[in-house]
Every structure is written in structure tokens, then in C-alpha cells.
Amino acid sequence: MSAAVTVLVPARGEAAFLAIALASLRLQTFVEWQAVVVAVGEAARAAAQAAIGDDSRMRIMDVGEGTELEALARAAQDVRSEFACVLDGDDALEPDALAQLHAMLAAHPAAGMAYGRHVLVDAGGRMLGLGPLCELPYSRDGLLLDFMTGPLRLFRTAAFRDAGGYDIGTADAADYDLCLRLSEARDIVHAPRVVYRRRIHPQAPEVARWSEGIEARYRAFVAAVKRRGLDAKYDIALEIDSWHILQPLKPFGGAGKLR
């Protein structure tokens, strides 16, 4: 029999981060969970084995060949629990994360997904601040403009499946694309509590693949606008502002000479 919540944990091979991620899962006040670590590659598999130890609530999924998204999509198809969520192997849950989101879905039977606020941390775990979009009010239309629903989301598994699950053709924007599709069929609710620590480091997708992410999210936006029939009334565009930030490494002495 499956636990109430299946937590899918994509792991990329950074053993220290994965150990923190799984430790945060073990500290959950909500205990009816099981975890599936989706480890792509030998390094990730070895890190997962070390981090799981003899914890019977966690197992490693044999993903075979393919991309991380393909493996995650397959793992999601196998979920038998009533609820599912994704804990990135680089990140960590706050102790009441599952409890908060589970309570939100219990209180809103029509909702297909719940999400909370998150904070950003660096590779060393130091707090960088509140996630940039997570305080924006959620609306189905607002989601077209701002991806505020994440990064921790608890799905009703049935709603996840009805929305079509992950589309492996939307790499770099798979979560956004999924949220857009789910928002078109079901309510989404927001728990106004910090439930997640998102780790920003040089290999994190939002750093290493920032431009691919911008383009992929725009494609998902365009597809959603067309699905919703809004393209008859609205012109669509992507506006990009950029700026260079140059900071002295030693601001009060010894910095490079200003000319």
C-alpha cells in the first residue's frame, strides 16, 4: 500500500546536497510519505545509495537511459499515492512543508495543486532571500505572465495525470508548462508559508541554463495563450531587460583603480 504522499527526488550527483535534501524529508512533521530518488548516472546513484542507507521509506528508481526529465516523467507515471511532489535533490524542505501543503489540499477539495513560499540559499546553505515571485498573488491568468507557483508543489496525483503530466518536449520549462496546463483544469491554492529552500549554485538550472529557460518558458506561455484562445485578442511578446553589475571584491580598500 502506498503512503499518502510520494516524493520524487531528482538527483544529479552532488552527494552533500542530496544528503541534506533527504535529511529534510526525514524531519517532516507529516509522516505518511515515501520517496523515490530518480538518479541519472552512476555518480547520482552512488550518492543516493549513501544518502538513503537502510531507510525503507526511500528507494532508488532504475531510470536506464534518457534525460533527467524523461526519468522524472516515468517516475511520475508510476506514482500510486493520492498525492505527489518533487523535491529537487539540491534543495531542502522546511519541517512542516508536507503538512502545510497537504492541509491546503484537504481544505480545498476542488484544488489540484498546492504550493508555498520558498527562500533561496547558496551552495553553503546561506540565506539569499525570499524567492522572487512567490509572494505574487496566484491567478490562472497571472500565471501566464509570472511563474509564481513553485518550486515546491503538492499535486493530487489524479489532477497531475488529467493535466497530462510532464511533457518531455518542454525541457527547461517542464514545471511551468505543467502548472499552466493544470491551472486550466483545476484550482491551485497557495500556502502563505515558507516551505522550501531552493539552492542557487553554478550548476543549478536557473544559473547554468538561464537563457534556455527563458526561451522554453516563453514557448510554454505561447502554447498556453493559444490553448486558451487568447491569441485572437492579444498580441504576445517577450521583453528582455538586462544589466551588468560590477562590484569591487574589496569595497573599502584594495579594489581595482577606478578610471
Binding site: 501566464l144 505572465l145 509570472d146 538561464w210 537563457s211 527563458i214 526561451e215 518558458r217 516563453y218 506561455f221 495563450v225 487568447l230 485572437a232 485578442k233 492579444y234 498580441d235 504576445i236 511578446a237 517577450l238 521583453e239 528582455i240 531587460d241 538586462s242 544589466w243 551588468h244 553589475i245 560590477l246 562590484q247 569591487p248 571584491l249 574589496k250 584594495g254 579594489a255 581595482g256 577606478l258 578610471r259
Partner: protein, 260 residues
């Protein structure tokens, strides 16, 4: 003493709708000592034929290139490699020079022979050429240091040809940031000054750049500054990072038939 010759490079790539106005603005200059170095970058919209017609009409226009699309970096560097003038500048194929652009810039630089380059103000116009007011980039004060974070040396630029060549000219490998990269190198070797006079009309074309091209430009500009920091020995003392904001935009469509 003869008046100096000004070489103006114009990449010719799919701007047939606007190219005649750009080339006519050269013909309308109150300073006749110029050569136009048009680089045929493989247009498919008849732009090359327009350039050929201008070259047949006035020997100051020269059409160069092999008709293949090589990108703006190669177009600019190749066109200006053929320059015979004392000064070099760039006129984009969809923009316009004010009638006194060359005379004003040449006069400004002759009075300041120490300068490697000067730049003016510009105005913006829409696709139909309607004025949209004074541009904004040049408003930030210039310094070689400030140029690392703001590309304020924009537009119209005129460089002394010997200074242009001494700093290596446009580097074709820098692709869409070839002009920014060049200005950074110029700022490291020669004084640069601003002429506060509007001499260039820059056309705002909403659909001219795809999001892929815009992101390519952002990356290329960042790479140009990273190279500048290495040249200037600043990589150990300064940290450079890129701020980026991408917005999905929904705009109500204009009513059919236009407004009364």
C-alpha cells in the same frame, strides 16, 4: 588642407523597406567628402539590388561582400577593412543620419585631435519614420569604467581611422556585440568624448529581433565586458554579474481597420 574623407560602413541585410532612406540621408549630407561601404550580407528581400542601384548612381557608394550571410560582426569588420577615409563610422541600413551629422562630427574631432572617437545624441523614430523623441542611452556620463556597465557610446559614432586600426577594429568573432567590444577597446587606449547634438535617427522596430537574437545579444555583450575586465586586469578585484528580467507580454490587439 583638404577636408578629411569619412568612410561609412552599412551592413545590407533585409532592410529593403528602409535602406533607400538610409542611403538618401548620406546623399543629403552637407559634407560631401564621404565614401559608403555597403556590405552585402546575403539579403533575400531585394536590399542588394537597391544597393547596386545606388552604387551605379554615385561612385561614392561601393557594394562589397560575396552575397552570403555572415552576420553583422563580419559585415562591419570587412567593410571597414576597405576604408580609405580619415574617419570611420557606421550607419545601419534601417536608420538615418541628420544632414549635418558628418560635418558636425568631423568639426568636433578636428578641434580635438587627441580623441580616438566621439559620439553624438540620437532620436528615435517608429517604423514609419515618425519621431519618438530623444534617445536615452547617451544620457549616462561616459567613462571607460562606466562603459563596462552601460553602453552609452551610442549613436552616432565617428572614430579616427588610425585609432580604429590601432585597437584592432571590429572583431568579427564578437558577432552581435562587435560594436560594444570595439568601443571598450577604444576606451582603453584613446580619449572618447560626447558631442551633445542629435545627429542620428534610430528606428525602433518591434518585431525586428527575435527573442533568441535578443538573448544572443545579452550573452555577447556580457562576454565583451568579461574580455574587457581581463584586458584591464580587473578580474581579481571585481566581480561581474548579469542581471536579467524576462517578461511575458500580452497586448490587446489593435482594432481592425485602424483608428479614426
Amino acid at each position: 588642407m583638404p577636408l578629411p574623407l569619412v568612410s561609412i560602413a552599412t551592413p545590407v541585410y533585409n532592410t529593403a523597406r528602409f535602406l533607400p532612406a538610409a542611403l538618401d540621408s548620406l546623399l543629403a549630407q552637407d559634407y560631401p567628402h564621404w565614401e559608403s561601404l555597403m556590405w552585402d550580407d546575403g539579403s533575400t528581400d531585394g536590399s542588394s539590388e537597391i544597393a547596386v542601384a545606388y552604387a551605379a548612381r554615385d561612385p561614392r557608394f561601393r557594394l562589397l561582400g560575396n552575397g552570403r550571410n555572415n552576420g553583422v560582426g563580419i559585415a562591419l569588420s570587412s567593410a571597414l577593412a576597405a576604408a580609405t577615409g580619415d574617419y570611420v563610422g557606421v550607419l545601419d541600413g534601417d536608420d538615418i543620419l541628420e544632414p549635418d551629422a558628418l560635418s558636425s562630427m568631423v568639426g568636433f574631432m578636428r578641434e580635438r585631435p587627441q580623441l580616438g572617437m566621439a559620439y553624438s545624441q540620437y532620436t528615435e523614430m517608429d517604423e514609419e519614420g515618425r519621431p519618438m523623441g530623444l534617445g536615452g542611452r547617451f544620457r549616462k556620463p561616459y567613462s571607460p569604467y562606466a562603459l563596462l556597465v552601460d553602453f552609452m557610446v551610442y549613436h552616432f559614432r565617428l572614430a579616427r581611422t588610425d585609432a580604429y586600426r590601432a585597437v584592432g577594429g571590429f572583431d568579427a568573432s564578437m558577432d552581435v556585440s562587435a560594436d560594444y567590444d570595439f568601443c571598450l577597446r577604444m576606451s582603453e587606449r584613446y580619449p572618447v568624448e560626447h558631442l551633445p547634438k542629435s545627429l542620428y535617427r534610430y528606428r525602433i522596430r518591434h518585431n525586428s529581433i527575435s527573442q533568441g537574437s535578443r538573448l544572443r545579444q545579452v550573452k555577447a555583450s556580457f562576454a565583451a565586458v568579461q574580455r574587457a575586465l581581463e584586458r584591464r586586469g580587473m578580474t581579481h578585484s571585481h566581480a561581474l554579474s548579469l542581471g536579467i528580467r524576462a517578461r511575458h507580454v500580452l497586448r490587446p490587439k489593435a482594432p481592425r481597420g485602424g483608428e479614426a
